[in-house]
Each structure stands twice: as C-alpha cells, then as structure tokens.
Amino acid sequence: MGNNLDALTTVFTEFYYWVTVVFMFLIHVGFCMYEVGASRRRNHMHTLMKNTMLIPLVTITFFFFGWWIYWAFPNGPFITGGLELEGAAANLPTSPTMATDLSDRITGVFWAAFLLFSWTAASIVSGAVIERIRSGAFWIIAVMIGSVTWIIDAAWGWSPNGWMVKLLGYHDAYASGVIHGIAGGTALGVLVVLGPRLGRFAADGTPRVFAPHNPWLVTVGLFLIYTGFWGFYAACNVPIISPEGIGGQITGTTWTATTIYLTPTTLGAITFNFLMSLSGGLLVAYVVSKGDAFWTYSGGLAGIITASAGNDLYHPIQAMFIAGIGTWIAYKMHYWVERTFKIDDAVGAVAVHGYAGFVGLVICGFMLWGYPSSPYEGFATINPLGQFLGAIIMFFVLGFVPAFVVSKILDGMGLLRVPHAVELMGLDFRTMHEEEQARQDVRDAEKALV
C-alpha cells in the first residue's frame, strides 16, 4: 500500500468481495432448503447431507488445485499459448500468499468469491439427482465441476485473458454459461446415466408427479437463492479501478466499475437489470405454468440467468424481455425433454440453469453484436457465432461430456446409484425407524411412571 488512496482502494475492494461472499452463502442455504423441500420425507436427511458436504469437499479441492487452474489455463493451454505457470505460481497451495501474508491482503477474499461460485455450480447439479444417487458418487462429481470443469471454463471464458474472449469475442458478464450452462449440462450428463427415480414414469412413458414434501421450504429456498444472487452479481464486478489500472484502450482519468473482462459497467446498471430480468422471468413463468408456485419461482431465477450474459450492458426493458423469452423456452424444453427422453430432473435444474443459460448466451450474441469484448487490442468483438460456440463449449464440452464419462465410470464400478431396495424403502429408513423405536422406548418408560 503505497499511499492512503491505495490503502483505501485495497481495503474497500477487500471488504466489497468479502461482503459478496457472505451474501452468496445464502445461495447455498437456499439450495439446501429447496432441495430438501422437494424431496420426499423418507429421503430428506440424506438429501440435506448430500448438498451440505459438497461445501468442505469443493472448498479444500479448490484450495489444492482449483484456484491454480484459473490462473494457469487462460490459453487453453495450447490454443493461444501454453500454461501460465509463472503467473499462476502465486496461486498454488504452497504459495505464501495463499496464507496469512501481510504483503497480500486480498487473495483469500478473491479466492473465496470464486469458491462460492464453485459451490453454486455443484449445488445446481445436486438438486437434479436427488433420491437415487449415492452421496459418494455425487461428491466426486461435485469436486469435478466445482474444482475442475467450471474453473477451466472460467479461465477460458470468464477472464480478461481467456482464449474464448480473445478468439470468439465470448461475453458472459454474470455467468449465464460459465456457471449455469455448465451446471445444467453436467446435471443432464449425470441424469442420462443415472436414470429416473423408480416409479417416475408409467409403463406407457407418462411421467408421474412426485410432490415435494414441503412446498413452503421450496419457495423460501428459492427466495434465499434470489437474495444470494445479489452477492453473486456484485462479486462478478471489479468494484472500482482506474484506466491506468486496466492498462487498456480506455483514455482519461475516470475510475469505473468493470466486469471480469475489465469492460466498464455500473452497479446501477446491474441493479436495474437484475430486478427487471427477475420480473420478466416471474411474469412469464406465472402465465406459462398457470400460476404454479414452483415454476413461477424457478422462472424468476431462469429469467435472471437468461439475461445475465449481457446484463452489464442491456437496457432494463431489454433485460425484462430477454428474461421472459429464456424462461418460456426453459419451461417448454423441460417438459419436452422429460416426455421425449424420460429424463427425471427432480427440480428442473437442467432447464432453469442449462437451457436458460444457453439461450441467454445466444441472445447476447445478437444483442451485443459488435460491442468490444475487452478493453485491450486484438480481441474479437462480441458476435452471435462466438456466443453460440461458447454455449456449446459450456453446456456440452465442459458440462455434459465430462459428467457423462465420470458417471459411466462410477456406474461401471457400481458406485453411482443407490440399490433399488434402499431407494424404495427410503434413504433415511433406518434412521427414521431407529428414531421411532427410541420415541416408543421413551413413551413406554413414561407410561411405566404413571
């Protein structure tokens, strides 16, 4: 910290990201509530623990290697250059700056902001596969997406130097693809191998409804996810930086907030667009689902996710309509895929995150066609083809394919799916049975005292 202005900027930036991390924690609280509410009573403790334990597993692996990947892989490697070993060295788990170090005060906070995105990516997958995946298998998949595949996509397409930004003009300011697209694709890859819950489809292929055991928990959970999403949006920005700090083509002395690509935006813009896209999603989802609470709340989320790729630049009314379009497509696609391919996505995660994220990237390519993707020279401008290819990379190449392969391996080892007898009796059967016996013992003891 050279002078008071430097010190103030550093402390403000540290605190800014720190607050976003606390807000983003609510995403995970929301996902846990939502997922447990959507499961049947005989499975809810296993469902809760499945989601909860991804927190420590993704956290430690993100410390071991995930964070390093982000800094080492922006060139592919071998697409626009090799591994960035020198630049990434400070982010190895052995680096002094990855610990208590008075010469670097911000790395831990910045690491945590990315880590919370990792939890979110894994948590999105968690909901889709409830009530029949083995927890051990899910946690391996959670580490895969949380500490490997999503952070590779971030290095490629969510970094000022990513090869997708340079060559394709890829733009995804608030993570339509880099979080939601990849998580939806990953969920679909697992679901294809895992199969539907027993009894989910009738012999003629008609889907049966598995009613959530607590719809209020589901809706409050989704409300909490909205709340945490505010932190997510703020965390995607650099809160304040000078043109000198950017070192690109921007002239003058005006400090600004920027996206992760160091392109200018404002906190006001993303506040307008967050709320207008939430509203667009809610309005369309209410109508298309005929007032179904689960889909209306999910539609709010799908709306934000669709508009997120370009919410740094859209007009709020554009954000609202884009959100509505994405939500409508996500809803229709969910039921079409369910009927056609017998995919049992228990919470609609593939639709709300995957299809909406994919559509959002494509729409962004048309809406922001010709906008610069970077403040630096030599980068492609934003364009529809680059965004479409980016959506394919996020959803299929880094989402669906690795998940499908890992699930196949786990399935081949007999580790993916819960045995049918256990699935039918319920994952919590033993616990519930023992608890009931314990209650009965107490009642008998009390009766003996009368």
Binding site: F64, T94, A99, S135, A421, F429
Partner: protein, 70 residues
C-alpha cells in the same frame, strides 16, 4: 516471523508457522482428502448392505412404503 511486533509492517510478508514446509502440508492434506472419499464410499456401501439385509425383503419394503407415505 520473529518474536516481536516491533517491526515495520512494510517489511513483513508471511507470518504463519511452519514456513518452508508448505509442500509437506499440501501432500498430507491431499492424502487426507482422498482417504476421506475411500472411507466414505466403503461406509456407504456397508450401510446399504446392512439396510438390505435387515429391511430388504419385499414385505418389509411394502410395509415401509405404507409407513412413509410421502
């Protein structure tokens, strides 16, 4: 790190204990992580086998489905 805070903080970098043994700590931690997965996968398999052995008959499962309606 020395034994006093009577220093100019501009000249201070890392202040955690066991500096220089970071690689050893990382190797131990990674091994612990992998071991955790191995133990968990074994325990989960044993738990399911036990559930099936005790409650896995058709009659027991039908009874369980009647008891836990949702």
């Amino acid at each position: 790190m020395g034994s006093t805070w009577a220093v100019d903080l501009a000249n201070v970098n890392a202040i955690y204990p066991w500096q220089g043994s970071e690689w050893i700590m990382v190797i131990v931690a990674v091994a612990a992580w992998i071991l955790w997965h191995i133990i968990q996968l074994r325990e989960e398999k044993e738990e399911f086998n036990k559930d099936i052995a005790e409650y896995g008959s058709k009659e027991a499962i039908r009874k369980a489905l009647d008891e836990h309606v949702d």
